[in-house]
C-alpha cells in the first residue's frame, strides 16, 4: 500500500464555481434544482442540477470550467504528470448542439482537446466506466504513481449537460420527477446534474488528505443495477487495498442516488460490511448525480465540507426499512470511504485518510 497525498482539488457544480463557493452555498441552504424538458411519452419535466455558468458554446464553456477547476487544484501548465480525464458523455453535448468541429467517432479528439486546454505535457488517459469513471481514474492514478513513472497525477472529471444522457436515463425510467431523496422513504429515482471536478495526487508530500486505496468490482449480471454481492466485494477489497479494518472507517459517502432498488442493495451491503454501520452521507440531493465526474466532485465537496464544518441536509426522511441513517452533522473523521455505482455493473470505492 502506497498512500497518495491529495495535494489539490477543484470543483464546479450546481453549488458554485469553486470549492469555497460550493461550501458557502451549501451552508446557506443549497441551491434548488432547475428543470429540463424531454420529448416523448416518457419525457416531460425533470429536475436537473446545472452549473451556474454560461459559455459562448459547449466547448468554450467546457474549456473555461476545466481550466478553472484544474487551476484551483494547483495543476500547472506544461505539467509532466499523468492526466486522467474521466467522463461518460465526452463532448456529445457539443455534437447535439452542432458546434463546429464536434463529431462522434474518435474519443481522442476530445481527450486531446482537454489536454490542450490545460497545456498538459505528460501522458493522458481517458477513463470511461459510466458513473464510476472518476473513481476508477483515481484508482488508476494511484497505481501509476506507485509504479513510479510519474510523480503527479490529475484526475479531471467532466460531465456536462447533454440531452442524450438525460434522455437515456429517462427512457430507462431511472429519473425522479420530484427530486433527489437519498435512502429516502419516498425515493423515486435519480436527479442528474453536471460537474467538473479535479483531484490532484502526488507521489510524496504533505497534504490534508491521502488516498489510501480503492477497488472496482464489475458484476455482469445486471447492466443497470447494483449487485449486493459486488458491493460486498467492493467494500472488502477497498478495505484490504487500504490496509484498513471496517472498524477504522468513520464515515461512508454513499452513492444513495434515490433509486429504489440500488439504495436497498447498498443499505444491505453496508449492514453486512460494517457492524455497526458508521455515519453515512450522501451529496446527491445537493448537486445531483453527476455521473462520470461524481466521484471526484463528491470527494472534493465532502473534504471541503469536513474541513469547514458544513453539512448537507437530507431532503427526505430515511426509509426505515433500509436499516441505515444519514448523519445530520459532520462527524469526527480520520478515515472515510467514498462509493459510486454505475452502469455496466461497476461498483467502485476509495478510502481517504485525513492527516
Amino acid at each position: 500500500m502506497n498512500a497518495a497525498p491529495i495535494v489539490g482539488r477543484g470543483l464546479a457544480c450546481a453549488l458554485g464555481l469553486d470549492a469555497a463557493e460550493c461550501v458557502a452555498t451549501l451552508r446557506a441552504g443549497g441551491r434548488p434544482a432547475g428543470s429540463r424538458r424531454l420529448p416523448g411519452g416518457l419525457g416531460g419535466e425533470f429536475p436537473y442540477f446545472a452549473i451556474p455558468f454560461e459559455g459562448r458554446d459547449w466547448y468554450e464553456r467546457a474549456r473555461a470550467l476545466a481550466t478553472r477547476v484544474a487551476a484551483e487544484a494547483g495543476a500547472q501548465p506544461r505539467c509532466r504528470g499523468a492526466l486522467f480525464v474521466a467522463t461518460s458523455s465526452f463532448d456529445v453535448g457539443a455534437v447535439e448542439a452542432g458546434v463546429k468541429g464536434a463529431a462522434v467517432g474518435d474519443y481522442r479528439r476530445f481527450v486531446d482537446a482537454v489536454a490542450g486546454w490545460l497545456d498538459w505535457a505528460g501522458p493522458v488517459y481517458a477513463v470511461s466506466t459510466a458513473c464510476t469513471s472518476s473513481l476508477n481514474a483515481l484508482i488508476a492514478a494511484q497505481a501509476v504513481l506507485r509504479a513510479g513513472s510519474v510523480d503527479e497525477a490529475l484526475v479531471l472529471g467532466i460531465e456536462l449537460e447533454n440531452r442524450l444522457t438525460m434522455g437515456g436515463f429517462a427512457a430507462l425510467q431511472l429519473l425522479s420527477r420530484t427530486g433527489s431523496k437519498p435512502f429516502g422513504a419516498h425515493r423515486d429515482g435519480l436527479v442528474l446534474g453536471e460537474s467538473v471536478a479535479a483531484i490532484r495526487l502526488a507521489a510524496h508530500g504533505d497534504s490534508a488528505w491521502r488516498l489510501l486505496g480503492g477497488a472496482n468490482v464489475v458484476d455482469g449480471a445486471n447492466p443497470t443495477g447494483a449487485s449486493e454481492s459486488a458491493l460486498n466485494a467492493m467494500f472488502a477489497r477497498t478495505l484490504a487495498a487500504s490496509g484498513l479494518g471496517a472498524d477504522q472507517i468513520d464515515l461512508v459517502k454513499v452513492q444513495a442516488a434515490g433509486s429504489p432498488g440500488n439504495d436497498l442493495a447498498e443499505a444491505r451491503a453496508l449492514r453486512a460490511a460494517f457492524e455497526p454501520v458508521p455515519p453515512l452521507v450522501s451529496l446527491k440531493a445537493t448537486i445531483g448525480h453527476t455521473m462520470g465526474a461524481s466521484g471526484a466532485a463528491e470527494i472534493a465537496l465532502l473534504t471541503a465540507c469536513l474541513e469547514n464544518g458544513a453539512w448537507p441536509v437530507a431532503a427526505d426522511a430515511v426509509d426505515p426499512e433500509l436499516g441505515v441513517a444519514l448523519a445530520v452533522k459532520p462527524p469526527a473523521v480520520r478515515r472515510l470511504l467514498a462509493t459510486i455505482l454505475g452502469f455496466g455493473g461497476s461498483h467502485a470505492a476509495v478510502a481517504l485518510e485525513r492527516t
Partner: protein
C-alpha cells in the same frame, strides 16, 4: 519493469465469418449488444481460449481501449433523440462499460474492469501492468473502423 508475460493472444484481423464463430463460442447468437461489443467479445474469448482459460481470476485486471468505441450506437441514439427518447437498449449500447459487463459475465469475473477511451493497445497494456494483481491482466483494443480490429493479450505473472 513488469513481470507479466503474454500467455494468450488474439492479434489477427477478425475472420470473415467471425460472427458465426462468436455464436459458436457463446452457444447462441448474441442479441442486442451492438456490433462493437460483439467484436470485443469475439476477440476476448479467442484470446482466453488461446491461453486455455474460460474464466478470469478475480484479482486480474481487464483493460479495454478503443478509438471510436460505441460511435455507431451513439449516432443511432442521437438520431432517436431528435424527436423522442432513445430506446433503452440503444442508450445502453452507447456506454462502452456495457462490454465490460458482458465480459465480466462471460468470464465469471467479479473484478476490476476499465475502459480507456482513445488509448492504444500499448497504453492500455501499460496501465493494466500498473494495476494488475496476482491474476495478471486481460488487455484489449477493439475498433470497428476499416474492417474491424479486436486485438487481445492475456498476461500472467511469470513467477
Amino acid at each position: 519493469m513488469s513481470d507479466l508475460i503474454i500467455t494468450g493472444r488474439c492479434v489477427e484481423p477478425p475472420a470473415a465469418d467471425w460472427r458465426a464463430r462468436l455464436a459458436q463460442m457463446l452457444g447462441e447468437k448474441p442479441r442486442r449488444i451492438g456490433a462493437w461489443a460483439e467484436l470485443g467479445l469475439y476477440g476476448a474469448l479467442r484470446c482466453m481460449a488461446d491461453d486455455g482459460e474460460a474464466t478470469l481470476p478475480r484479482d486480474a485486471v481487464l483493460m479495454l481501449a478503443s478509438r471510436g468505441g460505441t460511435h455507431v450506437a451513439t449516432r443511432a441514439a442521437l438520431d432517436q433523440m431528435r424527436d423522442d427518447l432513445p430506446m433503452p437498449v440503444a442508450f445502453l449500447q452507447t456506454q462502452p462499460s456495457q462490454l465490460l459487463a458482458l465480459l465480466a459475465a462471460r468470464l465469471d469475473f467479479p473484478g476490476n474492469a476499465c475502459f480507456l477511451a482513445g488509448a492504444s493497445l500499448a497504453e492500455a497494456r501499460a496501465l493494466a501492468e500498473a494495476q494488475a494483481g496476482a491474476g495478471g491482466a486481460l488487455v484489449g483494443w477493439v475498433d470497428d473502423a476499416d474492417g474491424g480490429a479486436t486485438e487481445w493479450l492475456r498476461m500472467r505473472r511469470s513467477d
